[in-house]
């Protein structure tokens, strides 16, 4: 229970920080532009069957970019602010704080789905019903959880690698392709599929598209489980890596440089 309290406190902290300094939400301003590009391609190519792909892709990209943005800076900013030592000296693992804070941004990233849908409906006059709304909501929540878990792992990798910007840049387009964000994995070359299936986006993108079009993968709960499972595995890896990083920092006296 107390761990949940700490998680909730990290969540509230990020909400408060974001309200005062909404820099991590900048992607909300650029997502509609992505939507315009994808929707223009689909409508001018007269491919109404791909409208759902064009609406969902900017949303998935938005969730990924926003979470990645915070993951790249969250530990470093605490170090520069002199808070790392105090976090280490507290009763809560730093990894829990990182996950709680990133969860806020991952959930806020889900607003990009709404933005993209509005661009399609208002800007392009498209009719895009959500065939299975409950499945859609579950898929969005599973996607946000998996994103937060993955971003926790990436936050640790950014620090360990000490090449934050290089990694941050490298972790965009390859993952959009492997994750089947715009082009479903089934349409990619077959040899890419094993690699794609370890990226949670590939499962959640299939599910989101299916929940909107009505063509759900069968059995769809397995897709939810795969998305959540991959997110949980990434979270476990992130927790282990951050804990190890803190333990090592206490040994090497680099806590303030972690």
């Amino acid at each position: 229970m107390s761990a949940l309290n700490a998680l909730a406190a990290a969540f509230r902290l990020q909400v408060a920080l974001t309200r005062r300094s909404p820099g991590h939400l900048m992607i909300l301003l650029t997502t509609p532009l992505f939507s315009v590009i994808f929707l223009s391609l689909v409508t001018h190519g007269q491919r109404p069957g791909l409208l759902v792909n064009a609406v969902l892709a900017p949303g998935l990209i938005g969730v990924w970019l926003m979470s990645l943005d915070l993951a790249a800076s969250i530990i470093e900013e605490d170090r520069l602010g002199g808070r790392t030592e105090l976090l280490v000296a507290s009763l809560t693992p730093m990894s829990l704080v990182v996950f709680g804070r990133i969860s806020v941004i991952a959930l806020a990233g889900a607003l990009t789905f709404v933005e993209s849908w509005l661009v399609a409906v208002v800007g392009f006059g498209a009719d895009i019903p959500i065939d299975r709304p409950l499945v859609f909501v579950l898929a969005v929540l599973a996607t946000c959880f998996a994103m937060a878990g993955t971003a926790t792992l990436l936050a640790a990798i950014f620090i360990v690698s000490r090449a934050r910007h290089v990694f941050q840049n490298a972790l965009t387009y390859p993952f959009y392709i492997l994750g089947g964000v715009l082009v479903p994995v089934a349409l990619l070359p077959g040899w890419l599929e094993p690699l794609s299936r370890v990226v949670f986006l590939s499962w959640s993108a299939d599910l989101l598209r299916g929940s909107m079009s009505g063509d759900l993968p069968d059995p769809w709960p397995a897709w939810i489980a795969a998305t959540v499972g991959l997110g949980a595995a990434a979270l476990a890896g992130g927790v282990l890596l951050i804990n190890r990083m803190v333990d090592r920092s206490r040994e090497t006296a680099s806590v303030t440089n972690a």
Partner: protein, 315 residues
């Protein structure tokens, strides 16, 4: 009184990344702090004070030796130690500047596993206690340095620890706030808490601490109850006097019963070799027209300068 902090032969070595260079921050430090005691740790920059505080607050691990808090080893049982210690590092950093004081405290309360109701009550109490009740909902970035430092104190107390580590707690505070801090420390002791503080303010250490420990080059050079520290100057005593005549000052310094003459705020201080020489020096000074002269006790600052030398006295 039982010891609540026990440090034995503590060594901390910092190694560079290539392990080619080593810096020894602590060289076999041994000390204890009794329950309810206020211990002052003094020393120049790089003496090892902050390293010691970081080890005791589980932020760093010792290279060798042991450190125990309430009989729990800081390396083997860090969680048990963290439940019982509060730490306040010096400076303005360590807070989230863009959110309010209350939001900051609320966050740290949860990290120390306080439930929400207790956390809310404790936050309000502590903000009032450190004089920030009226600014509780203002962003920390609008606070003065002293206000931030007071918020740090509240953060260190949020989980009601038995032992408190303060690293230069009055840095940046105005004199009134510093005096209130001293009152707060005395209140904390009355509540049964033990306080371990580093300070650069000798008057503060003398006024506040039951015991003073001086550390230099990673080794303890003095560890005594505050009222006994005068022993470290043996039987030497001082004469404070005002004199602007350079030649006369040189004459005083050359007197056989005077060990040294130091400039002080508002005058000079002569350290004599023997208590009997105090009267001799007073008569000598009055005879040469120096009428503002008086006998004085050696202060902690004298002890410090004597043991640590003339290096910077910043802690």
């Amino acid at each position: 009184m039982p010891a609540v902090v026990e440090v034995r032969d503590l060594v901390r070595v910092y190694r560079s990344k290539r392990k080619a260079e080593e810096k020894v921050a602590l060289r076999g430090v041994t000390l204890t702090v009794d329950d309810g005691e206020i211990l002052g740790l003094l020393g120049p920059n790089g003496a090892g004070k902050t390293t010691l505080v970081k080890i005791l607050s589980t932020v760093l691990l010792p290279t060798s030796g042991t450190a125990k808090i309430l009989d729990k080893d800081v390396a083997a049982a860090p969680r048990a130690v963290r439940e019982n210690v509060g730490v306040v590092f010096g400076g303005e950093r360590g807070l989230y500047p863009r959110i309010s004081a209350r939001q900051n405290l609320d966050f740290w309360a949860a990290l120390y596993r306080l439930d929400r109701r207790t956390a809310r009550r404790r936050c309000a109490e502590l903000l009032d206690r450190v004089g920030l009740g009226d600014r509780a909902d203002d962003a920390v970035e609008t606070f003065s340095r002293g206000m931030k430092q007071r918020l740090h104190l509240a953060r260190g107390l949020i989980h009601g620890p038995r032992i408190l580590f303060f690293d230069e707690p009055t840095t940046g505070m105005d004199p009134v706030a510093a005096r209130e801090f001293r009152t707060l420390v005395h209140e904390l002791r009355k509540e049964g808490r033990t306080v371990f503080l580093t300070t650069h303010d000798m008057a503060e250490a003398e006024a506040l601490c039951d015991r003073v420990t001086l550390i230099d080059h990673g080794s303890l050079v003095l560890d005594e109850p505050t009222e006994h520290i005068g022993r470290y100057l043996d039987t030497r005593e001082c004469v404070d006097f005002s004199c602007d005549d350079r030649a006369l000052l040189d004459e005083v310094a050359a007197l056989p019963f005077v060990e040294v003459v130091e400039a002080r705020a508002g005058g000079h201080r002569a350290l004599v070799r023997d208590p009997a020489a105090v009267a001799q020096l007073l008569v000598w000074l009055i005879g040469r027209g120096v009428l503002s002269a008086r006998r004085s006790e050696p202060s902690l600052e004298d002890i410090y300068l004597r043991l640590v030398g003339t290096r910077a006295m910043s802690v």
